[in-house]
């Protein structure tokens, strides 16, 4: 077989390697035509095929108690009780957001919502995990992304209840935009996007098809360079209003039995939707006629139609003879629907343009034919030493605290989340601003807690440990609300894995995730991988495995907030502190280094602490709980005070050597919480901590309008709030 029949430029356009082309010709036993080449190109892209990461991902635990749907569908699902399941997934939209922040972020939100709808679930919450270059240079980008996420979520009426934002140099030309959607469904009504039943109809519903984003999937699988500018027509403009109608119509559909499956159209459009849907059923195929696809523009070729990434479209597999019913439902929402083909039993994806056959490819070749890439991982030199003993001692804890609170990575995110409707749905019982957010499940006492977390600086310094710390922190955030962690979705954002040190990071991160998830009994039920977050091959992002986590509480009446809630309460530090300054925000803000080893994590200790907090919350001993994360104990304490509007008086901290004072205040030892306990519950709380074998120390008493450590620092809440509210993004 020779590759001469196709020129190399054309191969580059569809992002296939000569080897991959050869594999295609071998399996097809002929050369693919133009349309087939385009279809294979997108489905064999990294973005769709996971050819560099699939083998690694198998290491993640994906089963466990309550898992109703693991990876392989549009989203994962976990049972939460009383016949309900939560459906959730996180996804990246990094490249489009780098090119066009508003629309890139907006369509990222639109895409992840459709994944949840495809499961038959009603989306009830959104979260956004963002990474930018330093302010103020990145301000316009931040502004665009935040406006885009709000623009889509607010319009469609799904509350955006959580997320995270970090600023680091490494994201300056490769910002990250990850969006997570959480939905709710009766477990027995969960749908799966399987094209069952030869002869059933394939209907395309929602927006008309235009020339948007052709080759978007391949685009997401390449590094950004000057040529990206020419690919700009790839940018799509979202229509949240249309998606709202699509959402409601799909919810109406789920009440009929006319429908076998719903599949969203995302990257690689119709090609991917049809192939994926058929690919999930042994021996299934599909025949579609592009001539029947409603179009927005004139003069579109079959190639354009098959590869278009127009937003707000769904593929519906309809029982034969029931098409009218489906059409009527969509008509009620003023949406177009068209029968574009049918399910077959021949295992082939056949594309017609009227009478003419324009493509015919085995479904398996599209979905599973791509040769997996075997990459090599090599650890880089570990250049990140830190001599903690060489650091000057903490001079003025108060001044440091003010600078820390004003640092963009720690300051209040209110300026961002107040631009998101986080209340629509009348279910948000723990609002954004603290740890996880919580939504009640109407008609029950159940609540679900949701969060996204990742300290990528830790992952940069030690990917294996950093990944574990991300899982542990997410679990702590869930537990801080009184909820029990259930399951994980992850978004693995990495640089170019062809570079051995990047692939090594990926391997290490996946191993760390697997290890932590096993230890904490947290199955990974869905996820996404975004590679090639480099620009011009020079600046690479930190490895950024964003953890999305969902937890459940049996009675949301027992939920906890992060803020102090009553004067006179005892304020306690749960867990033990060590000289954990490596990779800390303190080290960066006060000493200008990103160095050292991230804090050591003992997952057995972590579990004990999580159990203690859950059990104390359950018993009603706690008035509030807040986890200690970036910025350490003192920043967590200040946040608890600011969120509650109540100060705290504490005796001076006299750490026992070798613990340093700066580490006691600002060190980032994991497995710690700040909790407030009413005095009457103190004895019980103390004995509970003893029983769990967890260290508990009394910090001080809640009350007043200042935070004071006698003789060490005294600051008014007003001063602290000024520093904390200082982030300016627009």
């Amino acid at each position: 077989m020779s590759i001469k029949s196709v020129d190399e430029r054309r191969l580059r356009e569809v992002a296939l390697t000569p080897d991959e082309y050869r594999a295609i010709v071998e399996q097809l036993k002929r050369a693919p035509n133009e349309v087939e080449l385009g279809m294979l190109g997108v489905l064999w892209s990294e973005h769709c095929s996971y050819k560099s990461s699939r083998a690694l991902l198998r290491r993640l635990p994906s089963t466990g108690q309550g898992v109703v749907q693991g990876p392989g569908e549009n989203a994962g699902a976990v049972e939460i009780g009383e016949g309900w399941s939560v459906v959730f997934k996180i996804e990246s939209h990094n490249h489009p957001s780098a090119i066009e922040p508003y629309q890139g972020a907006a369509t990222g939100v639109g895409g992840i919502i459709r994944d949840v709808i495809a499961m038959g679930a009603r989306p009830i919450a959104l979260l956004d995990s963002l990474r930018f270059g330093p302010l103020p240079a990145s301000a316009r980008h931040v502004e665009g992304v935040v406006a885009g996420i709000g623009g889509y979520g607010n319009c469609i009426g799904i509350p955006t209840v959580g997320g995270e934002v970090y600023f680091e140099d490494c994201y300056a030309s490769n910002p990250l935009v990850n969006a997570m959607c959480v939905g709710l469904v009766r477990t027995d009504q969960l749908m799966r996007a399987r094209a069952e039943g030869a002869g059933n109809s394939l209907m395309l519903v929602g927006a008309d098809t235009g020339r948007d984003g052709i080759h978007g999937a391949s685009f997401a699988s390449l590094e950004l360079d000057e040529q990206s500018a020419q690919r700009r027509p790839a940018v799509q403009v979202g229509n949240p209003f249309l998606e709202k109608c699509l959402l409601e119509a799909c919810m109406d559909l789920a009440h009929t039995d006319a429908v076998v499956a719903i599949q969203d159209l995302g990257a690689a459009g119709l090609t991917s939707a049809v192939a994926e849907c058929a690919g999930r059923v042994e021996g299934a195929g599909a025949r579609i006629d592009v001539g029947r696809v409603p179009r927005r523009e004139r003069g579109m070729t079959p190639y354009d139609v098959m590869l278009s990434e127009s937003q707000e479209r769904m593929l519906v597999v309809v029982r034969r003879g029931r098409e009218r019913e489906v059409e009527t439902i969509f008509q009620a929402w003023d949406l177009t629907s068209a029968v574009i083909g049918e399910v077959t039993g021949d295992g082939q994806l056949t594309v017609l343009d009227g009478e003419d056959q324009v493509a015919r490819v085995p479904v398996r070749l599209l979905t599973d034919g791509v040769p997996m890439r075997r990459l090599i991982g090599l650890p880089p030199e570990p250049p990140y030493g830190l001599e903690v003993d060489a650091l000057p001692p903490l001079a003025d804890p108060g001044a440091s605290l003010l600078r820390m609170l004003a640092s963009p990575n720690l300051s209040s995110r209110r300026g961002i989340f107040r631009r998101y409707d986080h209340m629509v749905g009348d279910s948000t019982v723990v609002a954004p601003g603290g740890d996880a957010a919580m939504l009640r499940i109407k008609g029950t006492r159940l609540g679900i807690a949701v969060t996204t977390d990742c300290n990528a600086r830790y992952c940069h310094l030690d990917p294996h440990l950093g990944a574990q710390l991300a899982v542990a922190e997410a679990a702590r955030n869930i537990v801080a609300t009184g909820a029990r962690p259930l399951a994980v979705t992850d978004c693995l954002n990495f640089a170019n894995p062809d570079r051995p040190e990047v692939y090594w990071e990926l391997e290490e991160v996946v191993a760390g995730l697997a290890y932590a998830c096993r230890a904490l009994d947290l199955p990974v039920v869905s996820g996404n991988v975004s590679l090639y977050n480099d620009s011009n091959g020079t600046s690479a992002i930190y490895p950024t495995p964003v953890i999305g986590m969902v937890g459940v509480i049996d009675d949301y009446g027992k939920r906890l907030g992060a803020g102090l809630s009553a004067e006179g309460d005892f304020v306690l530090l749960i867990g033990s502190s060590h000289n954990d300054l490596g990779g800390s925000e303190y080290l960066k803000v006060e000493h200008g280094h990103v160095a050292g080893r991230p804090p050591a994590l003992d997952l057995t200790r972590e579990k004990a602490v999580l159990r203690l907090i859950l059990s104390a919350a359950q018993s009603g001993y706690l008035h509030s709980a807040h986890d200690c994360a970036e910025g350490g104990m003192l920043v967590a304490l200040a946040e608890a005070c600011l969120l509650g509007g109540i100060g705290v008086r504490c005796p001076a901290i006299r750490p026992e050597p070798p613990l340093r004072l700066d580490a006691a205040f600002f060190g980032e030892s994991p497995s710690r919480f700040i909790v407030s306990v009413p005095s009457r519950a103190m004895p019980e709380m103390q004995s509970l901590a003893r029983r769990h074998n967890v260290e508990l120390s009394l910090l001080g008493l809640a009350g007043g309008e200042v935070i004071e450590f006698e003789g060490q620092l005294k600051l008014s809440l007003a001063e602290l709030r000024m520093a904390w509210d200082s982030m300016v993004i627009s």
Binding site: I99, A207, P233, V237, N239, F241, L242
Partner: protein, 85 residues
């Protein structure tokens, strides 16, 4: 000097506003409408300088701020007299 800038979505770019307005007009009985595109109109008053110079500056403004070249086109005209159109 007054510049009147019109910013429109590029022809291939999806224009949800335009689509929705078109449907709205149709349901009001304006069935003769075949297509609607919605853009921005920006009126910029500038001080001094020649028309030639103003043209150069406004072009620059469009490129840097007024239009998003990824998804939008722009055009403008300049009128020396400062009176509202």
């Amino acid at each position: 000097m007054i510049a009147r800038v019109i910013v429109t979505p590029k022809p291939v770019v999806n224009d949800p506003q335009g689509l929705t307005v078109k449907q709205g007009l149709a349901s009001l009985g304006f069935r003769e409408v075949t297509d609607v595109r919605v853009g921005k109109y920006i009126e910029v008053n500038l001080e001094g300088s020649s028309e030639h110079e103003a043209r150069r500056r406004v072009e620059e403004m469009c490129r840097q701020l007024l239009a998003n070249h990824v998804i939008e086109d722009f055009q403008f005209d300049i009128e020396p007299e400062r009176k509202r159109r």
